[in-house]
Symmetry: C2
Subunit: 993 residues, 2 copies
């Protein structure tokens, strides 16, 4: 089948399934999603089933036609099913079969991929669909668009046509494919691909494109004002395309990018709103095509048919492929929840086993009691002497209570509560059958599972990690009937995807594991994981290598298959010339392949794990290798392009990369960081040699952002900077500092080791924080598009963990002075407060008590290193037995004086009482000692001698006397004590104060 | 079949015919042609067969979804066949059959429509294809693109999908059509159509769109500089779309439009050039798919098989549908050429009949002699005395000559030439058979036919009005074999299109007419015309009406059918509320229907003429009525919109209509015309009342350009202006002047009758001429995008024919003073020269001798009225016997003096001879008389008395004597005579001078 055959076959297939066959849009789009036939039609309640081709333009993906399967233009085949037909994945797989794809020869996999289009205010959940490791389709349950929850949810299926045709034709690259009648992809599209790349990467005029963007946006807005939403939509698409070209051209900085997206989203959300209003005004005309599917009845339970002895229970929740994290999370929750649930329901059980595969969550209980024990339930009524008259006859109160409880008044009993007699109704509630109880509890159990992100899919409105498609619930050999998420439980499960998910009837709970194993499904993840580990190790050994231990990857792969079939693949040795970090990153991140190493060096092999049992895995092995070849070819493309010049030569390009409109280009930022570094070096007393390294590293620290490798694989920023620096002849110290200035990149990441890397990292973060706050881009709510929370956290982590003492206030002021914008005092205060909040969070995360953290931060927030030392020391003190007494002693002078704002003058000569005199002397000594003290230990040493004088003072002296002069003099003395911790901690914040 | 079924069926059909199935372009385009798969791929020698859907955007065609079949967006199905497969029309008709269209129920017609895309430097020849009067397809043989001749020629077939689906579904409007699965066109596209109309007509911001245009153009140019042609192409398409929106918005004046087109063409022609260069550099890779079709052999002639007696001859040239003009033209040429050709070939014949239908040209000769008579051919040899020696023996010269002529030396004869004997070779050349002669002559005959515009279609490189597809050539019952345009003659013709053009074998020339008649083909146009006239008259009478005599329309309809079947149609009476001019114009121009009138008023009927014999014409009658309904609905849409306000209220819109960038808006032009009118009135002594009317008419003269009716039907400019003026309460005189100011609109058109209309028309033309010359837009070569030749011709026609005396020089100067730009003296001279050239052309067209015209223009070009009077009078004089003598008399003094630049002083006292004296006296008298003379008659009266004195002078006086003083005095006298005609005519230009 050639390209056009595939298109025509898909059109016939989906037309027969009731889809409208639509046409590509006549505006350049990045995806078929942006065609109004998708992104507008998914809004609102009307049904809509549509299928169409869409040429999709992603300028940044251009490789001048040199990559086997990555072009800036490719053809999508887009399908929208609204509402969910109940079996969209199976329909999709049928369409592949209609194209002649044989699932016994190809490994088809659904790999979590949650989709979001920030410019459209849209997101959804679903998968990349892989064929032999190659992404051939994007499959998404649309959840939101234009900021609106979608109801019903639409299923979006986006085929990558070329990749499918390539497999069918055994083509090794787009260019080898036949479009039709002997005409190849080279013949029809190669030149245009190459030229579009040249235009997008080299020719497009940044200034003119920005002008176009502004004009489009203005037209979109005036179209919206005139109520003309479709023209507004067209212009948003044009904005989006121009933005993509600017991006490919390298002309959009990180912060500017966020602003562009916000601008597009703003307009487009209005388009969506206008569209919904319009459809509503039209009365949602397509609702007349809505097909109402009856919700199936849940059969009644006949307890007599269920085992009367303890019996094995089996619940299988059949789902579409769960994300790896969600599978783990759900199993963990079930492990805790099932016993809790059964206990709470007073249903006896033993041996709960929880299993899971991507397509099923399994609860296997070796025995569940046939029923609950009977239960005596006592209801308290009126007081006994009020319930019976003097003749012992029941009063109206007793009669009423008995009637209300549905028992005869003669059956009322008396019980004593808190020494007083009451009538009570005692009822024996017979235990219900396990089937009844389970039928009630299981939907709750399922509903109680939590996921980081859930989705809706059908009219039930249920939310779950992925769609629930079947339920098996067997107690012994009987079905426990219940309904959940629009599905009714039964005894039919489904087999492996490669075998067409055959319906499999489970005779009884006991048989389940054997039946599944017989159908090539290993439900126990530990067993799968062990299988994989063993086989992967053996395969690596077969070529003289090993796979480095990588539990995260192993777990992920385990959770991607129901029956693992590891196999060894090879890649061309020429790729070994690329940095190993790149090769491994690509292999693991994109493909979940296990790298094969020998003596710390990568071998040209990998191990991947197919899902299913195969007789002829050659085709899929070839596929796995091909997809890696394409990925590596991409990496090689970048590496070659990047190493064509020195790292320093990338600097001028940074000038076209806007950091933020008012803050200038990334190059401007770099030059500020370069200036800030020596100042910080001075403030932190860094050695001169380190300072020199740091200045050079600062100069180069962002240069890799302009390299193609980093433009493509942002996660390699810093890594590539260091690599390219070394290749450009920089010293190892400079390379190291470049790498380290990004550390820590997130929670749990390492800190910079070198002083130079530390200095550059601090300077970079200080500049971002002060600059972005100054231009009004402080994070709001939970949104933090510029990553300022991470920057602030990094700052405090580095300073505190590395014990670098630095006044943030001074540092911010210095950074502010270098900015091209003026920084208001309020902005500086806001930054400081923001950083303090991160520091507080960090201290809490380190396990310090919040009160001690607050006590510390009240005085030491400006210097995170000091803060950490302080809270550490304070915590130690707080755990000592004597601390309570010290705190109490301190709290009395402090409490009594804290309502007075000013400081009273102290007149020692006016003290009359001995205790006053003594305390005054003690305070004098403390003050003197305090002057040379900076830490908590010292403070405690200062406070300790005061405890007794304070006690005595309060025992013998009444402070709040009538005589104002005397009173204020005493208060003045106490104020001196209260002031002692100032500058170290604020003890008033400590619990127990 | 619903919309998507039709698309899928067409894709299958064309895929099976070897076409690549392509996709719509992702840039808004006005037609599928602009997809690179057409407009680039048609360039160069490579074969290319492709088919695809293309949504086509024509903003100006938007009707807010209210018109039944005209929307600003519709879907084309585009097919390119390169090279011509030989039967493209038949393939196309097969595709319609594949869609289930029954040609016994629907009238399919090919109606001349030559396509040109000025922005692409492209043009082609072909047809609109009509189904029941509705255009459903555009069919073109591409001749040029990007300014390049296309070789091979591509066949372009562009279906209007909606119109085809409408017929199949019996839908009365786009909105009633089903797209698929019960979803209608309303459901999928109506809202977007309405909104795009609102945007294009009301919202689009003119300034921003113009900026977009400039940015696109700049990007296109820099892409071209970088050798990136596809991006340049994309931007040209974007320019084109933005231009179309500006146009729909009414923001582009006539002159600005031309400039936009020129800008787009400039860039796009470079794209085309770059594309060709690129393909060539690639070695034209698709040439490997070229299929070489063998040119059929022409059988040898066996004269023995042909009639040995005079026999009937029949030539039928089978062509694809000829344009009406070309059919007439070809028949006329054949009528002259055939007898001439046969005579020249010495082939006896009688009774030549020439017939024709749209698909055949027929030569029917009742008898052609079986062969040429024999011919004696004499070849002159050497002189006799050189050929034979004294012994009478042949010399080597004679022997050589005889050998050269292939005869024996003894056969040489002697003949006398100019009194001298030569040997000659006398050969009897036997006459050749008629078959041989005809086989040689017929290709020449066909090749000799001339057409206003020809096309190429196949590898033969032949040019003709339309493709030649078969040749029948029969002498008696034998085929005269020859090849022409890649076709070999035979005896097979083809029948009617509605009957699938069946192959029909013609047994012999005698049988031809009967066979054709039997197959429902009337080859004699006079017979068809008579049939039509009779039936149309009868059908009109059947509803009590008549059809006005309209020989042009009758001839056109006659030439559109092979078997006429007139039928009566009806249209809704509500449309009669529209101006009759509009209804008739639409009916005739667009549909070639005969209007039915009664007492000068249109009845709600029409007569149309189908091609073929039909049993069930109901469906097609319905179709004819529907298409008129759509046309009238359009007209009503405009009329309603336009009459919603007064004509004067359209004036402000003229301010957004650029006349020319530097000359301002059309409104600016109008205000200049308003100011110019009173001045011209003064110059031409127009009465005050007319001047007032003229000023008001000038104010309103262009207002209708802003009305929708005129935007759509430009030919109604002036007509609608007058109509709307009347409806707005203007006086009949003003309305009339508005209408008339456009007169004459072209060759043969009427001149304005009223003085007011004349004044406005003159002012308008003066302003255009001077203004456009001043800004450097004078016509160059044959290009005249601003119609300045027509303007100048109108100017001189009006002035001369109406006898309005006006100094053009003064008029131009006055017009120049009103312009917003300064006008250089050289520009004024250039305009004058330009107008003089038009005046000269006009005088020649009126039949005046060029010499007399030049003689006149040398003196009177500034005043066309005077020029016409002068040339008329001069022509009269030139035809009189005495003129030659007068001219001779004048020529002697004039010739002898013309080499002297200055004028010699005259000293009468120095004359010595009597003849001198006499002539001097006569000259004195002539000079005196000349002073009061202004015309040719007067001039002749002045010259007449001088004839004799001049003769005598030259007989008796020798002018060029040695004595300089005497000589110059005589020359001075003669100079006075030579100067006499000055100011009236320049007699030196007259033939015979």
């Amino acid at each position: 089948m050639n390209f056009q055959d595939v298109v025509m076959r898909l059109e016939r297939f989906w037309a027969e399934k009731g889809c409208l066959i639509w046409q590509p849009y006549n505006v350049q789009v990045g995806a078929g999603t942006m065609n109004p036939a998708t992104v507008l039609r998914v809004l609102g309640p009307e049904p809509w089933n549509v299928a169409y081709v869409e040429p999709s333009i992603r300028p940044a993906d251009g490789r001048y036609g040199e990559n086997p399967n990555r072009w800036q233009q490719f053809y999508q085949y887009q399908v929208i099913l609204k509402p969910d037909p109940g079996n969209p994945v199976e329909l999709y797989l049928d369409s592949l079969k209609a194209l002649g794809i044989d699932f016994r020869q190809h490994d088809i996999r659904l790999v979590e991929d949650n989709w979001a289009a920030p410019a459209l205010g849209a997101w959804g959940q679903g998968w990349e669909i892989w064929m032999d490791g190659q992404e051939i389709t994007q499959f998404t349950y649309f959840q939101q668009a234009g900021g609106f929850d979608l109801n019903p949810v639409s299923v979006e299926i986006t085929y990558g046509l070329e990749r499918i045709v390539m497999v069918q034709q055994g083509a090794r690259a787009f260019v080898d494919m036949e479009w039709g009648h002997g005409i190849t992809y080279v013949d029809v599209l190669l030149r245009s691909e190459v030229e579009h790349c040249v235009y997008n990467f080299q020719v497009a005029n940044v200034e003119r494109l920005k002008q176009m963007y502004d004009l489009y946006e203005a037209e979109a807005k005036s179209a919206l004002e005139a109520g003309v939403l479709i023209s507004a939509h067209d212009y948003v698409l044009k904005c989006s395309h121009v933005f993509n070209v600017l991006d490919a051209r390298g002309a959009v900085g990180v912060t500017e990018r966020a602003r562009y997206f916000a601008r597009m989203r703003d307009v487009w959300c209005q388009v969506a709103k206008a569209y919904l209003a319009q459809r509503e005004a039209l009365g949602f005309p397509l609702l007349k095509h809505k097909q109402v599917t009856a919700v199936p009845d849940v059969p009644a339970i006949d307890p007599a048919r269920f085992p009367q002895q303890p019996a094995r229970f089996l619940l299988e929740l059949g789902v579409e492929e769960l994300p790896v994290q969600d599978l783990d999370g759900a199993m963990e929750q079930l492990r805790a929840a099932v016993p809790r649930m059964l206990s709470a329901a007073r249903l006896g059980f033993n041996d709960v086993h929880i299993y899971g595969t991507p397509r099923r969550l399994v609860v296997d209980i070796s025995a569940v009691a046939p029923r609950q024990p009977d239960e005596e339930r006592v209801v308290k009524g009126p007081p006994a002497d009020f319930a019976f008259d003097k003749e012992g006859q029941p009063t109206r109160a007793a009669l009423g209570f008995a009637r209300g409880q549905g028992i005869d008044v003669s059956a009322l009993q008396k019980r004593e509560y808190e020494g007083k007699n009451y009538v009570v109704a005692v009822k024996l509630v017979p235990g219900r059958s396990a089937a009844q109880v389970l039928a009630e509890l299981l939907p709750e159990l399922i509903g109680s599972l939590k996921f980081a992100k859930v989705m809706r899919w059908n009219a039930s409105g249920a939310t779950f990690s992925r769609a629930i498609r079947w339920l098996v619930a067997l107690l012994g050999d009987q079905v426990v009937p219940f309904a959940c998420a629009g599905v009714v439980s039964g005894r039919v499960t489904h087999g492996l995807r490669p075998l067409d998910s055959p319906a499999i009837e489970i005779p009884g709970a006991d048989a389940y594991l054997d039946v599944m194993e017989a159908h090539a499904i290993v439900v126990d993840p530990e067993k799968r994981q062990q299988d994989i580990r063993t086989q992967v190790t053996a395969l690596a050994a077969s070529v003289g290598g090993y796979t480095p231990d990588d539990p995260v990857l192993l777990r992920e792969v385990t959770h991607l298959v129901e029956w693992p079939t590891p196999m060894l693949g090879h890649f061309a040795e020429e790729f070994l010339q690329l940095p190993q970090e790149v090769l491994i990153a690509v292999m693991k991140k994109h493909q979940r392949y296990f790298p094969v190493m020998k003596d710390g060096q990568l071998l040209p092999y990998f191990v991947t794990v197919a899902n299913g049992r195969y007789e002829h895995p050659e085709a899929m092995r070839h596929g796995y290798e091909e997809v890696l070849r394409a990925r590596y070819s991409d990496a090689a493309f970048f590496f070659k392009a990047d190493t064509g010049k020195k790292l320093e030569d990338f600097l001028p390009r940074l000038n076209t990369l806007t950091f933020q409109t008012r803050l200038g280009s990334v190059l401007d930022k770099v030059s500020r960081v370069e200036k800030l570094v020596p100042v910080l070096a001075g403030m932190t007393a860094a050695p001169d040699s380190e300072q020199q390294v740091a200045v050079r590293a600062a100069h180069l620290c962002k240069a890799d952002l302009a390299t193609q490798m980093v433009v493509e694989l942002t996660s390699l920023q810093g890594t590539m900077g260091a690599k390219y620096a070394t290749l450009s002849g920089e010293t190892p110290a400079v390379a190291e500092a470049i790498y380290e200035h990004y550390l820590p990149r997130g929670a749990g990441d390492a800190l910079p080791r070198s002083i130079a890397g530390t200095l550059v990292g601090l300077a970079d973060r200080l500049d971002s924080l002060v600059g972005l706050f100054a231009v009004g881009l402080a994070p709001t709510g939970s949104a933090d598009p510029y990553g300022l929370r991470r920057a602030a956290l990094g700052l405090v982590q580095i300073l505190s963990e590395k014990g670098i003492s630095l006044s943030l206030r001074e540092a911010f002021r210095t950074a502010a002075a270098l900015l091209p914008v003026s920084v208001a005092e309020s902005d500086l205060l806001a930054v400081q407060d923001f950083v303090t909040q991160r520091l507080r969070g960090w201290l809490l995360e380190l396990g310090y008590r919040y009160d001690l953290a607050d006590a510390t931060l009240a005085e030491r927030a400006d210097d995170p290193a000091a803060a950490l030392a302080t809270v550490r020391s304070l915590s130690e003190w707080a755990s000592r037995p004597e601390f309570a007494a010290l705190l109490t002693a301190y709290s009395r002078p402090s409490r009594i004086t804290r309502e007075y704002a000013g400081e009273f003058p102290l007149h020692p000569e006016a003290f009359t009482e001995q205790a006053e005199q003594d305390l005054y002397q003690a305070v004098l000594a403390a003050q003197q000692q305090r002057a040379s003290v900076e830490d908590v230990d010292g403070l405690m040493a200062v406070l300790h001698p005061l405890a007794q004088p304070i006690d005595r003072f309060f025992a013998q002296v009444f402070v709040m006397v009538e005589d104002r002069v005397v009173r204020e003099n005493r208060l003045a003395l106490l104020q001196r004590i209260a002031a002692l911790p100032k500058g170290i901690v604020d003890l008033t914040q400590v619990l127990g104060y």
